[in-house]
Amino acid sequence: MEEYKSLTIDKEKKERNLEEIRRAAAAKKVRNYPNFIQSMLIQLKYRPVFMWMLEGVCLGAAFAVCRYFKSWPGPELFTVCAIFLVLSGNIGFAGLGRLFSRNMAELEQTLYLNLKQMAAIQLLFGGILDLLVFGIFVLLLGPARAGETAVFALYLLVPFVWADVWILWAFTLLRGITSGLRQAGTALLSAAVAAAPYFIPHIYDRSCLPLWGLALLAGGGALVLAVKRIFCVIEGGEELCLS
């Protein structure tokens, strides 16, 4: 069906059009929008040295916990590891908080940066640290619990997931409070969430494992919703502006 191309195109009119297009092309200034990988590399490049050092200290401390607390009784060990894991989660989320510190969100919007992409990258960085700490605990302490590695992992994951849900909600609930106070408050409350199971009688009994499983599922769902909510309110701006 190439016959449809047999309608004659007026060369002069076409040339006039192309000239107008040439003018627009010459005037065009292309803005470079980095893709996800490029954004990730840029954020890695400009990550504060302090953050790298803090995360290094965190990993070192995780090994120290494994060495000095491994002989502790089960419930106490689970609680210490869960608190440590959620506190390392707080460190991981500090990068996300910096994205929305005073005037940063407005500046980032002005520079046409993709805030959702940047938030996703910060969540990824935080998640990597958490995964490393979790891995250290499960691999070094799990097998020592007479083959109950999966159960040990469950006892760590449930408080961790619910603490993360709280941390993400804290970005909007605690806006307007100064950064240091907000981080301290978030850390204290998430540590309290992690420690809460210790005070529930018989919670570490085998018979309560289904409850832990349900709590993990519910926590996973709540975490997904909390992450989705963060991405939704990024558009609004004022709900996340921490100034």
């Binding site: 069906m1 047999s6 309608l7 076409k14 059009n17 192309l18 092309a25 010459a26 065009k28 292309v30």
Partner: protein, 179 residues
């Protein structure tokens, strides 16, 4: 140079390659606008507007199918040009008058192309879009659904009904067979 490489260079700041895109696809976009609106003169403006819009938003373009993307812009530009039913009617009238004027001239235009243009003007906008994209540009139904925002079933229905109307209008099975 492939389209992907052209876009990569353009988004890297080498905006002179925008002219290569225009030179490569000008005729395709012109024919689309011409058949879609039935207005050969107006199609020049619509073609220019299509490329100007492409230039305006090229920063955000994620390369997939450049020609399809340009045709989608052209589609929206043509739709926007139908400001109201009265406009559409006046353009169709102008298209028919132009057809009658040029019928006696010795232009190089293939008579079938001219007949097709007038026949397409008898279809509804959505049917015309679907028939042009499917039979003149070779896009599959699924691709047309994505470009037009319609469902697959709607696209199939539009193509079928559009061809039925074309057949009635042209009254020549051999011409229809050529499509």
């Amino acid at each position: 140079m492939e389209d992907r490489e052209l876009i990569r260079r353009i988004q890297g700041g080498q905006t002179e390659y925008l002219n290569d895109v225009a030179a490569r696809y000008y005729d395709d976009i012109y024919y689309f606008c011409c058949y879609q609106t039935g207005d050969r003169d107006g199609a020049y403006d619509l073609t220019q507007e299509t490329f100007l819009r492409f230039i305006r938003y090229v920063d955000h373009y994620n390369y997939h199918n450049l020609k399809g993307y340009l045709l989608t812009i052209a589609m929206n530009v043509c739709r926007a040009s139908w400001r109201n039913e009265a406009d559409r009617e006046s353009v169709l009238r102008a298209a028919r008058e132009e057809q009658h004027r040029s019928a006696g001239s010795s232009e190089a235009d293939n008579i079938r192309a001219v007949l097709l243009k007038e026949a397409l003007a008898e279809l509804s906008e959505s049917q015309r879009e679907a028939v042009i994209l499917h039979h003149l540009y070779g896009y599959k139904n699924r691709e047309i659904a994505r470009m037009t925002g319609a469902s697959l079933a709607a696209v199939k229905s539009r193509i079928r009904q559009g061809l039925e109307k074309l057949q009635l209008f042209l009254e020549k099975e051999d011409f229809y067979g050529g499509i």
